[in-house]
Symmetry: D2
């Protein structure tokens, strides 16, 4: 079997080499090549045409990329008038032929183009990279959002849960993949492989990632887990190099302390929910002693919200003391509880994006901690506070539904009582 995979690679190289020659000799423009790929010719020579288009694309400057995306957006656009006609026709006349005609008309030809581009080895990754460009360009060319919607539609289908593969990342993982973990860690930065060693090597650390079979070197998302004796209240404690690493079999708690999406080109396609669930199951199998699955998460929107509360009658005083760094811990905890439970957007969901993610997965707000992330970033975004979200498999489904339907936020008693605590509205008078 191994031999074949290897030959497959050789083959790809051969094809790719040819593809490049083909590309060099072929006088057609990239859009002409795309038209050829969409035509009958594309059926038989698709592999090479696709290679050529992808090679050409990689060599484009940003201005040319904009033209390329405009081509996708305008030339490979749906014909809305025709769709309206066909839809009327189908409404009146529900035959298979009229359904088929409508089905074909409603899909922009750029979707078929993207599918036909996805032939050579590595093409999936090229298309994901193409979307990274598109997301950058769309900021200044908002019209192109139509094309982005088609990218998302296709990528969501291709990166469907059923095609993802969970793998453990550890010190037996190839260095090439470890490099990606270093590069993509978004929450608590990793400087290099030697720094990563501290996250992967000790017996009380785990890391899991989703991969797609067509991008075997590229993690899509990964989660870092600390195995601990108790629910931790500070990221420094979790990451401390001074700690005595726990034997995995002794752990009571699994702490998800960092979740990072790796592929900007897959923005809007969510994997985190699946990942946490599957990792919980995996850890439950490996380490029966673990009773509690919990996060130690940042509260990114907290300080911004505090700023907005400065003039509030009830909360203004405490907000100012927190922002000034002079508030007692309990006040800080009480305010994070109010923020997470009460600070909502217009749509009724929490302002805090991390809260939306975990509550949307069916977790509950479990506990709150002052002085939990004293890094510059931690102090700046949340005055050093962090939160534990608790994943209890038996209640996630109901929590999720309550949250999705009614915006109800599940929280522990501790958190509820923190949110209900009476707060000072002015400085305590000190007795002379």
């Amino acid at each position: 079997m191994q031999q074949n995979w290897f030959l497959g690679d050789l083959l790809a190289q051969l094809f790719d080499r040819r593809g490049q020659l083909h590309g060099k000799d072929d006088a057609r423009s990239i859009t002409e090549l795309c038209e050829a790929l969409l035509s009958a010719e594309g059926e038989v020579s698709g592999y090479q045409l696709a290679s050529t288009v992808l090679d050409r694309y990689r060599a484009l400057g940003d201005d040319e990329k904009i033209l390329f995306f405009k081509y996708l957006n305008e030339e490979l656009e749906i014909d809305a008038v025709q769709i309206a006609d066909l839809a009327h026709h189908y409404a009146d006349n529900r035959t298979i032929e009229s359904f088929k005609a409508l089905s074909e008309a409603v899909e922009p030809r750029r979707q078929e183009l993207l599918r036909r581009l996805n032939q050579p080895t590595g093409a999936t990754q090229d298309l994901v990279a193409m979307r990274v460009d598109l997301l950058r360009i769309v900021k200044t060319h908002p019209d192109l959002r139509r094309t982005d919607l088609d990218f998302v539609h296709l990528l969501r289908s291709w990166f469907n849960r059923g095609f993802l593969v969970l793998k453990q990342i550890n010190w037996d993982t190839p260095a090439r993949i470890l490099d990606k973990v270093v590069a993509y860690e978004a929450v608590h930065q990793i400087s290099d492989l030697e720094d990563l060693r501290r996250r992967l090597y000790p017996p009380d650390r785990r890391c899991f990632a989703f991969f797609h079979p067509s991008m075997p070197d590229q993690p899509l998302i990964f989660v870092e887990v600390a195995l601990t004796a108790t629910v931790p209240g500070s990221i420094d404690d979790v990451l401390s190099e001074q700690r005595d690493p726990l034997e995995a079999s002794q752990a009571q708690v699994a702490v998800f302390y960092s979740i990072s999406n790796c592929q900007k080109g897959l923005a809007g396609i969510s994997f985190g929910n699946f990942l946490i669930k599957q990792v919980v199951t995996e850890l439950a199998l490996e380490l029966p002693s673990i009773q509690t699955y919990v996060t130690l998460s940042p509260i990114p929107g907290f300080n911004t919200w505090l700023e907005s509360q400065r003039e509030d009658d009830a909360l203004g005083y405490v907000s100012k003391t927190i922002l000034a760094g002079t508030a007692p811990s309990e006040d800080l905890r009480a305010m994070t509880a109010r923020y997470l439970l009460n600070a909502k957007r217009k749509d009724g969901l929490p302002i805090d994006p991390v809260a939306r993610f975990h509550l949307g997965n069916g977790a509950e707000v479990h506990d709150l901690h002052a002085s939990a992330d004293t890094s510059r970033n931690g102090l700046a975004q949340s005055s050093g506070a962090m939160v534990n979200y608790l994943y209890e498999l038996k209640s996630t489904e109901q929590n999720h539904e309550e949250f999705a339907m009614h915006g109800t936020i599940a929280a522990s008693r501790t958190v509820h009582s923190l949110a209900g605590a009476t707060l000072l509205t002015k400085p305590k008078e000190t007795t002379a």
Copy 2:
């Protein structure tokens, strides 16, 4: 890495076990479960809901399956009137919001259901099996063809060329997969593993298959190749156990003598074109001595066509002698040439399905042989004649385009002159 795959399986079992329990305890009907999967609940409990739906489906009788497909067909149908409105709106008002609204409306909700079902390990295969049922049922319930179009749309996207993996099938392949080759061989039947040994074990045999990463035990399509010294004119010669197997390094010719699709549930999604091209490249790499890539193919529609020519002035006499088994070889060859070059459907393409496949891939009709397949089936369908289609990489693209655009059939001089040969219109008079 290996460990993780294994754990992945364990995990799947665990989930599946739970899934089954969940399925047993859950009082909801399969369509209620589908609605739940499509709702907010499905986002968080999708894995288990999907497992339950797939388990339930497997246990359904045919009548219930019909109801299930009718539910997909009617309840998860598009709203054509709404589409027409939204299309009008978009035609007048090309905003991203109106495009998005239209995009969402045009996709039947059954497509999203199928994507959400594709979560548990093995789900992709379950969905392919579901389509096998659908194809059977659709014969008596033609309305369901709408749903089948959506299956095809999704499966074509998932089984995109870029996701397929070529593997060599040989005596180092697990027996479980060899069983599939025995079962799926469609052209020249294989009775069991000991019979398969004759197709795989000798040094002058090769077999290649496409696999999809989500169905690792299931070949999608495979091709059997004989390595020979010359272009063969008889399948018996190719398969003869009396032959002296050639050293692979001595071979001049690679003969594709059997191509079999394995998955009925993927009918209408074509892999053969890709497979032949990639196998040519692979063999070219492994065996530089090979100069010629050729098929030895059946001519399935020939005898049926001869029957239709019985009363033809020019061809009637020869047709009758061939059907009677009394025609000389050259007459038989001449008539197969006429059949392949001239017998067309209304759309201008050849009547013969195998011809359509290979000519559509850009091959040419290379040579024709009488007494080439003397099996009962061979005699019944083509009076024992077979054809070589030649794959010459440098001309396939042009051949394909000529064929696709103008219906032009590429053929060798030999074949052209056979097609132009003068034929008797009545018995030769024998001199007394």
Copy 3:
């Protein structure tokens, strides 16, 4: 990593190809080549010299092989007089130099030759095959037993337990390896792969083999296991195709019903003991429901022993009725018990070779069955009787020691009471 293994193979081929050319061009005889390999030249060109010698050897006829072995036996022999001198010297003068001189003198140079031959890919297997020849030739050339002792010495060191790898053989195993299981099954014959399917495919079957990393396609020994509800008393029951296969998780008993050594060239190097122990551990891990590990074994020497008892006062009558096939079951069981417990060789060990193997491993004689193997072979060797040996991990060590030290045979109460049963010494008188 995969790529490297593949390159390793290519490499080997390259070397081997060169080796062959070298062999063809090289005018030296095989013994001259051996001398070169043993000399300084061998240090730098060993790979090619070894390839050439092994190629040459394969092409030898039996007469030439005899000459080759005589060369090993006589020319690469120790110098006993020198050894005696060096041993005296060392006895008087225990310096490291004199020890080293003695160490070097005591090892026949043929051992170093065999080690130097073991360089090219596949050489280990060639050397094992060489011993197969030697074992055949030694029958008529008993002098060569010296050389065989050196083969055994080396192979025992190379096939040391620490280098063996246990693998499960099942339907995911490559067909190439399954072929070996078919070929090597020594106890209950398997006719072909389709027959083997019955031994491997059902959920209540297991098969395990030891492999050596240098012979990855060659099992060394394998054991076939049936998972059952109760201790079986008949091989036909175990192998019956009519049985309803048990779910593995329901099994109470694991029955080792066939153990086969695969490599004649490794005769005298014992793996069976290790294999059974490791398989017990493996099954205990996979299937916690299994309580009992037992064999269902032949009694190959029973009928021969019965013949020798024909004239015995006490046992003659029963022996004759058994051999005549007219004895009741209980008499047959009683006699097998006496045979297994009491029939000893001069060295105090049981006559029966299978008994010696299992008792030597620390098993006990657990139960005896009439009509248990009604195949022609089963009737001929043991009048259809079979035996269960029981492996109880907690007592194997003590059983083994008692057996090894004192020849004590561990047996169940049932077996002891069968052995003590009173037997008729003449036909029962029937009342008129």
Copy 4:
């Protein structure tokens, strides 16, 4: 298959866990356990006894280790008087029985003990580690060299060329193994994984290692290769991070610039010769453009030798200028040529150990370079000079033989003429 390897590991853990318990409960001393392992008991309970002995050994202090090795050395020693008797007997009476008796007597029982210890997973590595201890201890206990000879004898047989596996080390290698490369690099130090990246990642770098199947995480020896356009004359050029990495396909020269043995416990067992040859073959396959295989090697004994030449009439003056760092390059090159070609030990071989290694492999002294290694170590050992040894496959065998038989050193014309250059014997007089 994968599953079984995994189970194999689980199994080992299970056994190992038991082994540890056994070890704790077992009141016997380590030498009593060794005796048990050598006795009949060892045959059946070897796995656990060996685990216990190896566990116990690991926990010993150095004093106890000395006692353990003394036990091996004295108690498991040969009986020289008995050997002398048996050798006499065999000399007089060449029967197989007397040969066998002699064979058994000549092997110290410690060899059998080591073989029986090699049963649990990881035991091979434990035994290699045991020899690391022994080599340290033997320095102060020279008697133990007898035991070391037996270790070497066994390890040489186990680490026979035929059992080694070549693997490429690159950025797809697990970090765990890369750590070993960092730790074992002996020639040009590597500080950490980020430093190693510079040696492995660029397209003009290669690294290959030998592994033994029983120590899959442990490279035995590795070689680092630079692909270059020309034969390099300075290690700084080779390792420069400023260089523009060459495309591998453009390389003309492969430079072996570092070879490191990894296992101190395998000292005296040579792999380097095999490794270089196999890597040459592998690179020849991958990169046909490479014409030249050359080393860039240190000259470790040069400065020491210069010191010894200070008072020499002919060479003293130049030696002193070199040691003072004031000699012109050509003088330095001329002196390294003389040193490598002429400076011999009593046995006629070169003083320089690196020269002995490469010349012994059949390489030739190809070129010499001043200012080639300006590191502190390079200046201290060889005044900054380095040497290229050239591997030309077609002449290595003859070079090796000439070197082994007659001490003849193969060298290029350049080197010969450098060695013959006239050297100043006193300072040049400068004209006023």
